[in-house]
Symmetry: C2
Subunit: 316 residues, 2 copies
């Protein structure tokens, strides 16, 4: 696949009028009236964020999904994306990547609108653009709010260990790591319901601490309430040790959000609209910092709450 | 400069409310009422688009300027930018890069709104967002229109040879290569005046051919009319050979545009508003392809019209 082939393949995807056939100097996008533009840009580096052996379709999926997860956390609906693609890999890989990008763009109605193709090492950049009437923020949690989580945590962390060859592969968990699902429906439905929201990419504990810090409040999590999948329960230690391990692992891309107690019914309705379970896992306190509570009272924070920014360990 | 320092330095730049202090999942941008969003993403690779020896401030300048030049070509006013930054270089370089980014963002009123910082090889991505009431396109040239060019061409091509050590350095030309000026004022003033526009990044001849192809018309250039700076005239061969060399070199980031003959006065006014000379260099013809005309009649196209997409030769 030479560069002309790559551009032809990308143009075949870029059928949305805003893309202008990838033939103009930039894309022209109409943000719907009354909506604000929400924009995020994530970078994936081969050998850092995925291994060279990772299937190209999975890399495309993750590149798009991680960006759309940020849009979901803002309650935004996708408008489209711009791709920064280096031609670093063999032709089959690149063709598979572009085909995968097309599938995931169609799946989430997020058309390819523009970008750049250059020679260079394997670094992928994606800008996702979305729109929301009243974007959510991680800065709005109020004392007395309840803390909610979508789906389950710990799945992708075990999937990462499987991708690294540290554990026997179980398909459903490996898929949770390689093909995370951005909670776009839930995020959009939480507008006007949640007081704060973010996506859980680096681990529930560290991200909950960040949400509290951004909002200037404290956050308490009930460990017994943290939802784990059956597959995770079967592989992690029983009890609090297993929950702590799951809550300190990353890449689940679930939504963590807060809402007033009176909004609990609306939160459940948003979960139904977004076709994902929502679980109340704690509450917002005065003060600062993260507190954990188990069946027998307070539980000390583990030494590691999750992945710090820029983690090099997120390979797979 | 460790990663925490890098993020602190970027946050210090991101004072625009839309950036949300780089603490939220995405930026939230208000596109002014009645304007359409214009979005572009360019990637610079060390060793491909700039040499490791290139000053970090110049790399930051070029990264922003090349993107803003695309906005200028659409007649858009900058709203802000998202940065994809790999931490590949030594601390001093990164600090200089971020300082340079801040200067150029302030210069063109294009605030840093978001992005991603990761470990990895030296690949820089930038998404520029802008707004325009009626974005220009390279697809609107009509038979009978006149072809116009801002500024001069050939300067940056000689600057590139200086950067590569192939010629004795002359400061003004090296600067034209390393610090191109996006023609934002001219682009904005051309809205409603120009029928088509694009920026000249790969060479006047190849880009003029692309404008004609995108608009489905032929383009004729009068070589005698192509504006060259005194510095370029002094270094290139006299006559048509020199003009052809200048017109086949890249990186000038001038605007190439078309307008109806009756709009010539408005074009000159737009040039005055944009504080850059505008020169009529040819016209739009029925048919297809690029034709050149010299003092003695038709001139054959040179074998090389400019840089093809994805050029690896654009180092410096």
């Amino acid at each position: 696949m030479n560069e002309a082939d790559v551009i032809a393949a990308l143009r075949a995807l870029a059928t949305h009028p805003a893309a202008r056939g990838l033939r103009d100097d930039a894309a022209v996008i109409d943000v719907p009236l009354g909506r604000r533009l929400v924009a995020t840009h994530d970078v994936l580096v081969e050998g850092v964020h995925y291994t060279p052996a990772c299937p190209a379709g999975d890399v495309a999926w993750k590149l798009v999904a991680t960006n759309l997860s940020d849009l979901a956390a803002m309650g935004a609906t996708p408008l489209g994306m711009l791709l920064g693609l280096t031609l670093a890999r063999e032709a089959v890989w690149t063709a598979d990547f572009i085909a995968g990008l097309g599938r995931v763009a169609a799946l989430w109605d997020c058309p390819l609108l523009g970008g750049d193709t250059v020679s260079g090492p394997a670094v992928l950049g994606l800008t996702a653009l979305g729109a929301a009437a009243a974007p959510l923020s991680r800065m709005g949690a109020r004392v007395g709010d309840e803390l909610w989580l979508s789906g389950t945590v710990g799945d992708a962390g075990l999937g990462l260990r499987m991708a690294l060859g540290e554990m026997a592969v179980e398909g459903v968990l490996l898929k949770r790591y390689r093909r995370p699902v951005p909670r776009l429906g839930l995020g959009a439905a939480l507008a006007g319901v949640a007081s704060a929201a973010m996506d859980v990419s680096d681990g529930l504990l560290i991200d909950a601490a960040r949400l509290g810090e951004a909002s200037g409040v404290g956050v308490a999590i009930e460990l017994d309430a943290v939802p784990l999948s059956d597959a995770v329960r079967a592989l992690l230690p029983a009890g609090e040790a297993g929950v702590l391990a799951a809550a300190a692992s990353g890449d689940d891309y679930e939504l963590l959000f807060t809402a007033a107690p009176a909004a609990a019914g609306a939160v459940r309705a948003a979960g139904a609209a977004g076709k994902v379970a929502v679980t109340r896992i704690g509450r917002v306190l005065a003060g600062a910092g993260l507190r954990l509570r188990g069946a027998d009272g307070p539980v000390a924070l583990p030494a590691r709450l999750g992945f710090e920014h820029g983690r090099g360990c997120n390979a797979g």
